[in-house]
Amino acid sequence: DVDGVGHKYHLELVLEDVLDKDSTVNCTAEVLYHLGKKTIAPDVEFTIEGELKNTDEADNAFYNQIKSLEKELVAENIPDSHGNVSPEMEPIHLLAWVASGYVMWQNSTENTKFQLAQIKHVKQVKRSDEYLEFDYMILLHEIVSQEIIPWQMTVLWHPQRGVQVTQ
């Protein structure tokens, strides 16, 4: 308890690479949930022990693949009702995962727990600069209330410059 400010949690966790379960890295973090009714995102500070794997090759491959499309990418229901994701849609799915992490963080309190349930719809938006832009309609599952929350997010991405999310 941090008087007058909120609740602070000290965490020790292990990060696991989604694509390579054997690749793990230790992490420590401090999370401060603010008191009060207004939903302010919790403060997060973290340190990673070691380095995250280099993903340049896969990033560039995905980037070039999208850049070389004749028409802007459009897709829906990722995964489908049975849980399948086609290999071409995997990077789109992973990008949504990362971006939805940001959305969840911005909306988290001590009484929420979010997961990305599904991408209902994704549409690529043409850009004149080097960034890729995707308009996502996602469904978030909030475990405490069991609610499914639709959320619209616009995601910018570039292999070297990372992810940006505008809600």
Binding site: P79, S81, G83, A117, H141, S145, Q146
Partner: protein, 384 residues
């Protein structure tokens, strides 16, 4: 047949391999074409059993280093197919347990299962859903002159948790396929009767197939048909409506207009209540989260036999983990998950059933409710 892994070191080796693949017409798994074989790039070739020695000899002069990636292709193929052993006739031929099935097919499956195993299985009427569909359960019971204790398991209380009905079907299949050969199962059936309800919330399940994949509740209309669905697992008469529920119909945890207001809830409750003195264990299967939950959700006060309950759960979780390393958390809902009232598991314990558990199957959120069919088998195997 074997699959060899080679990383060519020189251009001569590349040429040698290209020649080998083309002359013997070997099955290239990676890359697809001989012309794509490069120095330093992974090469995977499937070699038919008859040619394995010839190919390996050829790779020895001059030496091209290789590793055996898959020593027996057929073994892998067999492992990935549904098992077709002598127990063929006991389960419906061709029913694929590693896929999700719509309600129509589950109804047909139940009829077939009883037909093929009528010395052991009987299908019984439990009640009707709000949309007037019939709810059936299967009784697996070895004829005997002694009255046996009952283990009840229901699946599919929540529509979107597809892995749950898939598990109930798998469970039945496993028991019927192995009760003669597996001493544990046969001893089990000598002393206990199994009652399995593959899908309780039939209307909701169908709705999740046809209209909205992430639907949870049943399909009872409220407010003149402007709002649908009660959360059946908040509708039981166990501290109904006290915590972790919503009074708002549009919420996913709407507890209904009163305890047991829903026909599906009543169908289960009336049956279990009638048989409660013989029921040893109540199991209800959900997803996701990987938990084995004990009572209660409505209060943190432990149940009277909590040590016993925990002892059994811990053993179950350990056994489960032993299969594929999947870890399940165990404990009371109110302590490790969230508070809720009106759950079937709490109710079962409150009316006197000593062992009452909720299983939340795979996974941990990566796929959540939309668990891919490839995970049906491992999930069911480990839970078994």
């Amino acid at each position: 047949d074997q699959v060899l892994h080679i990383v060519p070191e020189t251009f001569q080796q590349v040429q040698h391999l290209q020649h080998l693949c083309s002359t013997l017409l070997l099955d290239l798994w990676k890359p697809l074409l001989p012309e794509d074989i490069w120095v330093g790039e992974d090469l995977h070739i499937r070699v038919p059993a008859a040619l394995v020695q010839e190919v390996k000899d050829s790779l020895d002069q001059p030496t091209v280093p290789y590793k055996v990636l898959i020593p027996d292709v057929q073994e892998l193929v067999d492992q990935s197919m549904p098992r077709e052993t002598s127990s063929h006739r006991q389960v419906p031929e061709g029913y694929v347990y590693t896929q999700y099935h719509p309600m129509e097919e589950i109804y047909q499956w139940m009829t077939q299962i009883q037909k093929n195993n009528n010395e052991l299985v009987t299908q019984h009427y439990l009640g009707k859903t709000i949309e007037n569909r019939t709810i059936y359960y299967l009784q697996i019971s070895q004829p005997s002159d002694k009255t046996k204790k009952i283990i009840w398991m229901d699946c599919g209380i929540h529509a979107r948790e597809w892995i749950s009905p898939a598990f109930c079907q798998w469970f039945v299949k496993e028991i019927l396929q192995n009760y003669k050969s597996d001493p544990k199962i046969s001893r089990f059936l000598q002393n206990l009767d199994l009652y399995v309800l593959p899908v309780l919330n039939i209307d909701g399940y169908i709705y999740s197939w046809e209209k909205e994949r992430l639907w949870r509740k049943n399909r009872s209309p409220h407010m003149n048909g402007t709002c649908y669905g009660t959360d059946l697992n908040r509708n039981f008469n166990s501290s109904w409506d006290s915590i972790g529920v919503s009074y708002n119909c549009s919420s996913e945890t709407f507890c209904g207009s009163g305890p047991e207001s829903e026909p599906e809830t009543r169908a289960v409750a009336q049956f279990i209540d009638k048989k409660k003195s013989d029921i040893l264990c109540y199991l209800t299967i959900h997803s996701y989260g990987q938990y084995i939950l004990t009572p209660y959700g409505s209060t943190t006060k432990p149940p009277s036999n909590s040590e016993q309950l925990m002892h059994v759960t811990e053993k179950a979780a350990a056994a489960l983990m032993g299969k594929y390393g999947t870890s399940y958390e165990v404990g009371s809902t109110s302590l490790i998950l969230y508070s809720n009232s009106g759950s079937s598991r709490d109710w079962a314990h409150m009316i006197g059933i000593p062992f009452s558990y909720t299983f939340e199957l795979r996974d941990n959120g990566t796929h959540g409710f939309v668990l891919p069919p490839q995970q049906i088998q491992p999930t069911c195997e480990e839970t078994m």
